[in-house]
């Protein structure tokens, strides 16, 4: 188990290296020059040259890459030109916000989708299965920005159940914060709900057809015992793991939702940084977004490993 974890961590470190390289070199394609950004257009060519040298822009690109990477690892992420504040503070604050939003979204999404999917799977072909499957599939295809607007109008304007603003006052208690985040998390939940429910459903059906369920039946177990001890135990780990793998997709959805609900999260920051060509912010934010997805992927693997003795105990 420990070896598995170490292997995964080594792989992640390697992937992060490649990821950082990719981000860095992609960003090199962006128009604009840092020296000009800092000095303004009135400086002399000598001043530019001096500034370029000071910034290391005269170095070959790979030297700059490692310098940048070193700085990044030391926590020196540069200064955001557009927000005029240190990138690290900016990105970490936004990252915290996104984590909160994603947390609420996942907390709603995973249990509800899995319960729905398992229910559908256990009642394959019955009306409850049809409602869940068709409903889930329908929700999945509504883009976040459409469902978001409708949710806003219905729940915030007409019913006034939830506030429009996703950001709670800073002194708000836990539940108030959550209340602010429910509305923006729902569109993301909708889009992934169908997918995860479908996974849980087919996982359940697959397990129901497995020979060991027959074995359990022949033992004389009650239906309840069969479902709890044998079906769920084997159907859930892959489903949970798969739902964590939705992280990348959810991240994308968060960009849209944060824009729609004007929530100051990482996604919104990414969008703003990319439209305003704020290079250091963009680099840090993309890298951080990549790290989140990677961690989720690792979590997915770990979940599977912890819950599945075939991985946990080895052969």
């Amino acid at each position: 188990m420990l070896r598995f974890l170490l292997q995964r961590l080594a792989l992640i470190a390697l992937m992060l290296l490649v990821l950082s390289g990719l981000v860095f070199f992609l960003v090199q394609l962006l128009p604009g020059d840092l020296a000009t950004n800092i000095l303004g257009s009135q400086a002399t060519p000598e001043q530019y040259a001096a500034m370029r040298a000071k910034l290391g822009l005269d170095q070959p690109v790979w030297v700059r890459y490692f310098t940048w990477l070193g700085d990044f690892l030391r926590g020196e992420w540069g200064h955001s030109v557009s927000a005029d504040q240190p990138v690290r503070d900016l990105v970490l604050t936004r990252f915290g916000n996104t984590l909160r939003l994603a947390g609420v979204a996942l907390a709603i999404l995973i249990p509800s989708a899995i319960v729905a999917g398992v229910l559908a799977g256990l009642n394959e072909g019955k009306w409850i299965d049809k409602i869940i499957s068709v409903g889930g599939a329908t929700l999945t295809v509504i883009p976040e920005f459409v469902s978001g607007i409708i949710l806003m109008i219905v729940f915030a304007v007409w019913l006034r159940w939830f506030p429009i603003s996703a950001t709670a006052p800073s002194d708000a208690d836990f539940w108030t914060t959550v209340r602010h985040l429910i509305l923006p998390s729902l569109p993301v939940v909708f889009v992934s709900f169908g997918y995860i429910a479908k996974m849980a459903r087919s996982g359940t059906i697959e397990v129901l057809e497995a020979p060991y369920i027959r074995t359990a039946t022949f033992k004389g177990l009650t239906r309840r015992q069969i479902v709890l001890r044998h079906v769920l135990r084997n159907a859930l780990p892959p489903t949970i793991s798969l739902s964590l793998l939705q992280a990348s997709f959810i991240m994308g959805g968060l960009v849209v939702v944060e824009q729609l609900f004007t929530y100051p999260g990482l996604g919104k920051l990414l969008l703003d940084a990319s439209t305003s060509h704020d290079v250091p912010t963009l680099e840090a934010a993309v890298l951080l977004a990549g790290i989140i997805v990677m961690v989720m992927t690792l979590l997915a693997d770990l979940t599977l490993a912890l819950l599945d003795p075939r991985v946990r105990v080895g052969g």
Partner: protein, 296 residues
């Protein structure tokens, strides 16, 4: 050469053809006998026809402002009403099809070709090549596609071609995983070993031996990715980094018009429903295809 000599014997060849016809007919019965698939196919066909011939069927110039009352309510003449600039919403929904259905299919073609190529190569060559390809795919999968799209667009600017390429390439890793799994099953089958034992070249084995047998997963992935491509294109339009006004693209229209949703819901709901109908249709087709074609 082989084909020539074989065509000398008409009867077996004809039989084979007849049999293929039968097989195809059976497959089509399997597909079109399903109401969901039928509905999906009809909707997709409808939008495809609209995309090609919207010029001929739009009741009004979709780009002419002041055709109707700004944000006018639906009426007999303008049955989805007017948008903020007094353009006919229904005409714009129809015209928007062209944008949606030019980006998504081409992006899907890229996604599927690249993904299949990577998947099949990884599965067949195995070892270091497989490792290299799949680890690269892992890394690419870590990037949320929208975020990368944002980065690239801010680097090279948005255009229809950029959209197609970005959406196309970023779907490929996910496809390559599925295809690899399918191709792996095939590559481990003995007929591939038999081909190796005839010293067939890699191209022949990949294209003639393996590829035809993963048509099912490829077809299924195509429909799934098509749905994703539509979704992705709409999301990028929404974020304002894709097409520009006055394009009638659905995602863009929703972005622009959503502010009026309380006043004139149709200018938002029209394209939203169109988008949803297309994605639902693609999903219906994908689901049925998966059931019929999936390799057991």
């Amino acid at each position: 050469m082989q084909e020539n000599t074989m065509s000398l014997t008409q009867t077996p060849a004809e039989k084979l053809r007849a049999e293929r016809r039968q097989q195809r007919a059976f497959l089509l019965r399997q597909l079109f006998g399903n109401p969901g698939f039928l509905l999906g196919a009809v909707i997709i066909l409808f939008w495809c026809l609209v995309a090609i011939g919207w010029h001929l069927i739009v009741p009004y110039d979709p780009f002419a402002t002041g055709i109707t009352m700004p944000l006018g309510a639906p009426s007999l003449e303008h049955w989805m009403g007017g948008d903020d600039l007094g353009r006919d919403v229904w005409s714009r929904v129809l015209a928007g099809t062209a944008d949606v259905l030019s980006i998504a299919p081409l992006a899907t073609v890229i996604t599927i070709s690249v993904g299949t190529l990577i998947g099949v190569c990884a599965a067949y060559f195995g070892g270091a090549i497989d490792n290299l390809l799949m680890r690269s795919v892992d890394i690419l999968l870590v990037f949320p596609p929208i975020i990368i799209a944002l980065m690239i667009i801010s680097a090279i600017g948005a255009s229809q071609v950029t959209m197609i390429i970005i959406i196309g390439f970023f779907g490929a890793p996910a496809v390559s995983r599925t295809i690899r799994a399918a191709a792996m099953r095939e590559a481990n089958r003995d007929y591939v070993a038999a081909a190796v034992m005839r010293r067939e070249n890699n191209g022949y084995i990949l294209l003639r031996e393996i590829l035809p047998n993963i048509e099912g997963p490829v077809a299924v992935e195509t429909t799934i990715r098509f749905g994703y491509a539509i979704f992705a294109a709409a999301s990028l339009s929404f974020l304002g980094v894709s097409l520009q006004p006055p394009a009638a693209d659905w995602g863009l229209t929703i972005t622009v018009q959503r502010i009026y949703i309380q006043v004139q819901p149709w200018s938002t709901l029209g394209p939203a429903l169109a988008l949803a109908s297309l994605v639902v249709a693609v999903n219906l087709v994908a689901d049925r295809l998966r059931k019929v074609l999936a390799t057991p």
